[in-house]
């Protein structure tokens, strides 16, 4: 029986904007490896991370629970020690050889106890090539009957946060003038607000464009290593019996709305790419725009293909397998993501509209079908009111479905983090009460 389980290769990158795969039409970079993966498998064009920050998004991938359920609502908060992770789960229930290379970043979970760790983490430019080489080394030497669950976590394009300047400055940004003819234009929805991020204060158009240019090169840097890994697998004896999953923990501002980085619910940070490949079982080259997908669907899909029980208490996650294999399952009407940074934000997305609720009782509403770049806020106008009413109903359904992690007892985490748990617990109770 064990022999029939597929191998699983889960490749994830850090901070990849959803529009930065050249096969999807971006002319300012080339991603031949990801393009090949797009043509070999199915892309979920409407995939959203559970929380657009590293630790919460990753905790959701590996436990199957939303970021307000895992104990990791923001970076640095500790994962609930009672939640099993995919490494433990597939080893125990599927007899998998669970292997990990690269970035993990889930606090309070010792990676080496859940996986065999074959390579550590570090900045992308320094480490990603070594991660890819360790992974292909593992593949080259893998033998025996055990299926593998190989996880490869590349850091890039996250190096956009480390511009390597003297004293924390902007690194080689002054090189922009020398390659001005190569710099991409600002995005159509660029609208700079100096309150967004201290690091971008004082940037002129040229610096913004250099940021975008260098971000694209970092995506290509990751692409080259993904190609190293994927092309090796695709030309190997494992190709026909390996499910390959590619996605990102969150996006990057990339100048959209005049922003960089992540942690908020606009598309550039919340929306992520996702590609799944399984020769002979998943259609080649298909791009699904019908199904709203969530980061917690990744572990559900892995458990489904691995023929192991679902992780316990998967409140929201659903296996993408029926969709991948051409069936027409009843599917969710909406997808939700959360960010408990600042005043707190929740993104509610249905097939056409998106609402961003803020913890200070404000909201933004966008018609993503007609305004995909989120330039026209419908909050407060007639069209927006109907959307808001519907989305608040979705929000109440969501809150009733999940099991929010409680506020930790005592002050072990410090008041800063304790306030974060209190934030969503009291906010969500208030939303239910108002109903």
């Amino acid at each position: 029986m064990v022999k029939k389980r597929p191998n699983i290769l889960f490749i994830h990158v850090d901070q990849l904007h959803y529009q930065t795969i050249s096969a999807y039409g971006n002319p300012y970079l080339k991603t031949p490896a990801l393009d090949r993966m797009v043509s070999d498998g199915m892309s979920f064009m409407e995939m959203y991370t559970t929380m657009p920050q590293c630790c919460p998004a990753r905790a959701s991938w590996y436990t199957g629970r939303m970021s307000t359920e895992t104990g990791v609502p923001v970076n640095s908060c500790p994962l609930d020690p009672n939640l099993p992770d995919l490494g433990q789960w597939l080893r125990k229930h599927g007899g998998y050889d669970c292997v990990y290379a690269g970035k993990w970043h889930i606090p309070n979970r010792d990676l080496s106890k859940s996986f065999r760790q074959i390579f550590g983490s570090g900045m992308g430019e320094h480490n990603d090539a070594s991660i890819a080489r360790a992974a292909v080394g593992y593949l080259q030497n893998h033998s025996g009957d055990k299926p593998f669950f190989l996880n490869v976590g590349f850091m890039n394009p996250h190096d956009c946060c480390y511009t390597a300047g003297a004293g924390g400055g902007c690194g080689k940004f002054s090189f922009a003038k020398e390659i001005a003819d190569k710099l991409p234009p600002l995005p159509e929805n660029f609208l700079y607000n100096p309150n967004y991020a201290a690091r971008t204060r004082g940037w002129k158009d040229l610096q913004w464009r250099y940021y975008i240019y260098s971000y694209y090169r970092l995506v290509e840097m990751a692409d080259a290593e993904i190609g190293r890994l994927y092309n090796t697998l695709a030309n190997s004896r494992f190709a026909d019996n390996t499910l390959v999953i590619f996605t990102a923990d969150h996006g990057d501002g990339l100048g959209f709305h005049g922003r960089v980085s992540k942690g908020y619910m606009e598309e550039q940070a919340w929306h992520v790419p996702a590609i799944l490949i399984y020769p002979g079982r998943i259609a080649k080259g298909k791009r699904d725009t019908e199904h709203l997908a969530s980061g917690v669907d990744i572990p559900a899909t892995i458990c489904d293909y691995a023929k192991v029980p679902m992780l316990p208490k998967m409140t929201i996650g659903r296996s993408l397998r029926p969709v991948l294999e051409g069936k027409s399952p009843a599917w969710r009407d909406f997808v939700i993501g959360e960010s408990m940074l600042g005043v707190g934000q929740v993104g509610i997305r249905d097939k056409q509209f998106k609402t961003i609720l803020y913890g200070n009782d404000t909201a933004k509403i966008y018609d993503l079908k007609n305004d995909p770049l989120e330039k026209h806020d419908l909050a407060g106008i007639e069209q927006g009111k109907a959307v808001m009413q519907r989305h608040m109903g979705y929000m109440r359904r969501y809150i009733s479905s999940i099991e929010p992690a409680p506020v930790p007892a005592g002050n072990q985490l410090g008041i800063k983090y304790k306030n974060i748990y209190e934030k969503y617990n009291s906010w969500y109770k208030q939303i239910l009460k108002e109903a």
């Binding site: 320094h126 090539a129 070594s130 080394g137 090189f175 003038k177 020398e178 840097m221």
Partner: protein
């Protein structure tokens, strides 16, 4: 570089663009830019927020330059052996105005001219949470040292020992623009768009004048294991940089292309490539023989 200089040079660059003297994106060899005036490095003020303080080529290594002594003997033409230290950049929150740089690995390259072939033997170590090692042997040919065949072995280190179950070995051959790579798992075939040069070959090219007079367009073989097509390397003028106890004048070459951040090669008056800067991974010449 301060804002005033930036504006001046932006205007200068704009005039070059209007005159059609900046490189186009299309392939082919083009005349390189006219040499720019020397750009002195400015001292960083702790009180001033640093956006455009240094020449871009040295921004990632400002914390290292104060103790860097350029190698003063030897040549990167013909047969030579070099060792570079890997200088990693790390985020810093202090007010020193200098990057936090630490040595995190090494790169050793031996070049031997052997009949019509030039052979490069390279060993690269990178330290960090885990240490990796790549050993390559590249057989190259022609004026540019285009690679014709190579072997690369990658290891994950456990202390001084390589972990045998993570070793990866691959052999590559280039013939008429077709690249065939073989490893134990299978064969990967691809086509190169330009001449395939190993990154190691850039050292001897920069020791000559070939790139000074013409922009170089090539596909790059990195570590014998990853191919990065559509690279451009060009002469970017002279800069003065602060090094241990003095100011050094360097020829600055810039490389841009697929999958790399702008990379600068700083060569002294004898063509010795003393520094290679990228972003958080940079190289400083330690030995040349």
């Amino acid at each position: 570089m301060n804002r005033r200089d930036l504006l001046r040079l932006t205007a200068y660059a704009s005039s070059l663009v209007l005159a059609g003297r900046l490189p186009l994106l299309s392939a082919g060899r083009q005349k390189s830019r006219p040499r720019r005036q020397q750009q002195p490095a400015r001292q960083t003020s702790a009180a001033k927020r640093n956006i455009f303080t240094e020449p871009p080529a040295i921004e990632p290594v400002t914390g290292y330059l104060g103790k860097f002594r350029p190698v003063a003997t030897g040549t990167m033409r013909g047969d030579f052996a070099v060792k570079y230290d890997l200088i990693r950049w790390g985020p810093v929150n202090n007010k020193t105005g200098r990057a936090r740089n630490i040595v995190s690995g090494s790169l050793e390259i031996v070049r031997k001219v052997n009949g019509r072939d030039t052979v490069y033997e390279t060993v690269e170590h990178r330290t960090g949470q885990t240490t990796s090692r790549v050993t390559t042997k590249l057989n190259c040919r022609g004026k540019l040292d285009a690679v014709v065949r190579w072997t690369a072995v990658s290891d994950v280190m456990n202390g001084r020992n390589a972990q045998t179950d993570l070793k990866f070995e691959e052999h590559g051959i280039v013939s008429n623009g077709n690249i065939v790579r073989n490893n134990k798992l299978g064969t990967i075939e691809s086509v190169n768009s330009h001449t395939l040069l190993p990154q190691e070959a850039l050292l001897s090219l920069l020791a000559g004048d070939i790139v000074k007079s013409d922009d170089l367009h090539f596909d790059m073989l990195q570590n014998g294991l990853v191919i990065k097509p559509n690279q451009t390397l060009y002469y970017s003028g002279q800069i003065q940089i602060p090094v241990a106890g003095r100011t050094a004048t360097m020829d600055c070459y810039a490389q841009t292309g697929y999958g790399i951040l702008p990379t600068h090669y700083l060569a002294d008056e004898h063509g010795r490539v003393q520094l290679i800067t990228q972003q958080n991974t940079n190289w400083a010449l330690k030995k040349l023989s």
